[in-house]
């Protein structure tokens, strides 16, 4: 019974998400797309941090790696200023995921040896290497001053821009904003389903065994190194996908000039915030965390335009980004102090009260 209700709830949510582009205008769709980027990235991070117990501050690096890989793979071949392979955008997106996963694997020998906070700071090294890479590998990234434009996405020849066949659904023309929404929704749902499958299956059990006690896991026949490497690679692949989505969303790949920016420490911390707020290890929690951390600045900016908030500019102005930083900073503190399981634990408690889980039914992922 409980399962049925939960399934129905997911179905309703999906239908609503599918219908939203018919009612929202382009600016709100754009905000929604940004939340989905955060969702994909946060799912990846929650797997490695929450499920496998490996603290990673490297997520921003994998965003940059994925974004760069997509742009290079799909870029035009004839440009002598930058490298491009002219591949099909759909293939390039897949390539970006693969490249990021391989980079994650390359870091695995280091990750395998380190634990806890040592690993966290070691992974921070990747963010700084990414900064240097963005500054120096101008043939790939386009450089910090100009960046470079990614190829617009298309799938099997169907463009996700305003070109191509004109489609109208219930009187609403399905254009770039709507098409990108559906693309991102598809990617988010895929990311979600795969992560849930991993968490519930053999892989997830090996991750949790390693997280809870490495020695015990090894005794039980789990290959600790392989589990750690796997978790890091999967999480990097998710980060890479989110990075490619980021580049498509901004419509530009622009590496940072300092360690704060689109691919800086602050972004690594923002993703960590999503995961903590959502509840470490919970896949749905990661989505809710992304909704708060990535969504709040977007929503505040849109509302403030209507309501005249944040009208101040220049010195000491309160911007939507600043306000949402305060909110998620406070949210982290409150979660750790009062509900270490995050929003996922709160949600679980509510549904448990409502539905009375049958005895013997396995609990959801912790």
């Amino acid at each position: 019974m409980a399962k049925l209700v939960r399934g129905a709830a997911w179905l309703v949510l999906l239908v609503v998400l599918l219908a939203l582009p018919l009612y929202l205008d382009a600016a709100w769709l754009k905000a929604g797309q940004y939340m989905m980027i955060g969702g994909v990235g946060a799912i990846g991070l929650t797997l490695v941090v929450g499920q496998a117990g490996q603290l990673s501050l490297a997520h921003a690096f994998f965003l940059l790696a994925g974004g760069t890989a997509y742009t290079v793979l799909s870029g035009p071949t004839g440009d002598d200023r930058v490298v491009g392979f002219g591949l099909d955008p759909g293939l390039s997106l897949l390539g970006a995921v693969v490249v990021s996963a391989l980079l994650g694997l390359a870091f695995a020998p280091v990750a395998g040896r380190l634990r806890g906070i040592y690993l966290g700071v070691a992974s921070l090294a990747l963010v700084f290497l990414g900064l240097y890479f963005g500054q120096s590998a101008e043939e790939l990234t386009g450089g910090t001053s100009t960046g470079r434009a990614p190829a617009p996405f298309s799938l099997f020849g169907f463009p996700f821009t305003n070109d191509g066949p004109q489609i109208t659904l219930l009187g609403v023309p399905i254009q770039q904003a709507e098409r990108t929404w559906y693309l991102f929704l598809l990617l988010t749902v895929l990311a979600f389903v795969i992560a849930r499958g991993a968490v519930r299956g053999r892989v997830g059990r090996s991750w949790r065994a390693v997280r809870d006690n490495e020695a015990a896991a090894a005794v039980m026949g789990v290959s600790v190194l392989r589990a750690k490497a796997g978790a890091f690679a999967v999480s990097s692949a998710y980060g890479g996908l989110a990075g490619a989505m980021t580049v498509l969303w901004f419509d530009i790949l622009k590496p940072d000039e300092s360690e704060f920016g689109t691919y800086g420490i602050n972004v690594s911390i923002a993703y960590l915030a999503m995961v903590i707020i959502g509840g470490l290890g919970s896949v749905p929690g990661a989505l809710v965390g992304a909704l708060i951390v990535n969504g709040l600045p977007q929503v505040l900016a849109l509302y403030s335009a209507d309501l005249g908030w944040f009208s101040g500019t220049g010195d000491g102005a309160l911007t939507p980004i600043l306000v949402s930083s305060f909110v998620y900073g406070a949210a982290i503190i409150l979660v750790v102090l009062f509900e270490p399981g995050g929003l996922a634990a709160i949600g679980r408690r509510i549904t448990q009260k409502r539905l009375r889980r049958q005895p013997g039914q396995p609990a959801e992922e912790p």
């Binding site: 700071v121 090294a125 005794v219 911390i269 010195d315 900073g329």
Partner: protein, 292 residues
């Protein structure tokens, strides 16, 4: 050769400041096993207080006010947030400090706006010649101050009651409590001392000679570079913090000159990675043993 000598002195000067910051991480970690991600915001807070009080108190008074307030902020964070969540494990408390860091840093950066004041008025941008090489006073003073403070800390750690209590708690928290050591007092002073050291460090960081920039978000990220210093020395070793700090300072100064300025930030982290691959708990850190 002269360039090399000059770089070495400047690198050691920078390293001394990193050592002060790394020592702060280590003290807190030893007392509580919490890694303080909010250290950068303690640095910013101290610096900001210097800026605010400078007109009223003069440079000396303002600097003292800054140092004390950074220490107090550390104390407040510990008393108000960390001490209230004893049931939480050290790792989630480390995450909590990220929340503190985000809030404090954003607020101070907002208040600073576009004004990026320099702090080290007494020694900043006063180079002098010595035997054909140009030395910066900031680096020399930093070396001297750090040497005095670290020696004082080391003596206190070794011989004072506080130091004994601190070491006992680092060794075994429960046993220390049973022997009558008030763990809350040890923890609180650890945060206070770490904050004071951060407050001293910022007087050197936000200078022309050290970072080339005034108090800003960049100051916060320089404080982050003390992270690799603490880690490569070993998070629970005070000697490691000093060595780690000096290594980071030297690596940064030398790589900025001989490779490129852009590279110097990542060079520090690369060196740390290499050390960690060889010794996963840092140069002087205690190896973690697992019991099944």
């Amino acid at each position: 050769m002269n360039t090399f000598l000059q770089l070495t002195v400047n690198g050691l000067g920078k390293g001394a400041v990193f050592a002060l910051l790394a020592l702060g991480f280590v003290i807190i970690f030893k007392a509580t096993e919490v890694v303080n991600f909010a250290h950068g915001s303690l640095v910013l807070f101290g610096g900001y207080l210097v800026v605010v009080t400078r007109d009223a108190l003069g440079w000396v008074g303002a600097s003292l006010a800054g140092i004390v307030s950074a220490g107090l902020l550390g104390l407040v964070v510990e008393r108000l947030l960390l001490s209230r969540s004893r049931h939480a494990d050290a790792n989630s408390l480390a995450l909590l400090t990220i929340g503190v860091d985000v809030i404090v840093t954003e607020e101070i950066v907002r208040r600073l706006g576009v004004t990026l004041p320099f702090l080290g008025g007494a020694w900043d941008a006063k180079p002098f010649q010595l035997g054909g090489i140009t030395l910066f006073r900031t680096h020399l003073v930093a070396l001297g101050v750090a040497a005095v403070l670290i020696t004082a800390f080391w003596l206190a750690f070794k011989y004072s009651n506080w130091g004994v209590a601190m070491r006992a708690q680092a060794e075994n928290r429960e046993a220390a409590a049973l022997m009558g050591i008030r763990s809350s007092r040890v923890t609180a002073t650890a945060w206070l001392v770490a904050g004071l050291l951060a407050g001293v460090a910022v007087l050197f960081i936000a200078t022309q000679d050290f970072s080339g920039a005034g108090l800003s978000r960049g100051t916060h990220s320089i404080a982050l570079a003390a992270f690799p210093a603490a880690i490569l020395g070993g998070l629970d070793s005070t000697a490691g913090a000093v060595v780690g700090g000096l290594v980071v300072g030297l690596v940064e100064a030398l790589s900025a000159q001989y490779v490129s300025f852009d590279f110097s930030k990542s060079a520090v982290f690369l060196v740390m990675l290499v050390v960690l691959v060889v010794r996963p708990s840092g140069l002087f850190g205690t190896r973690e043993r697992t019991r099944v």
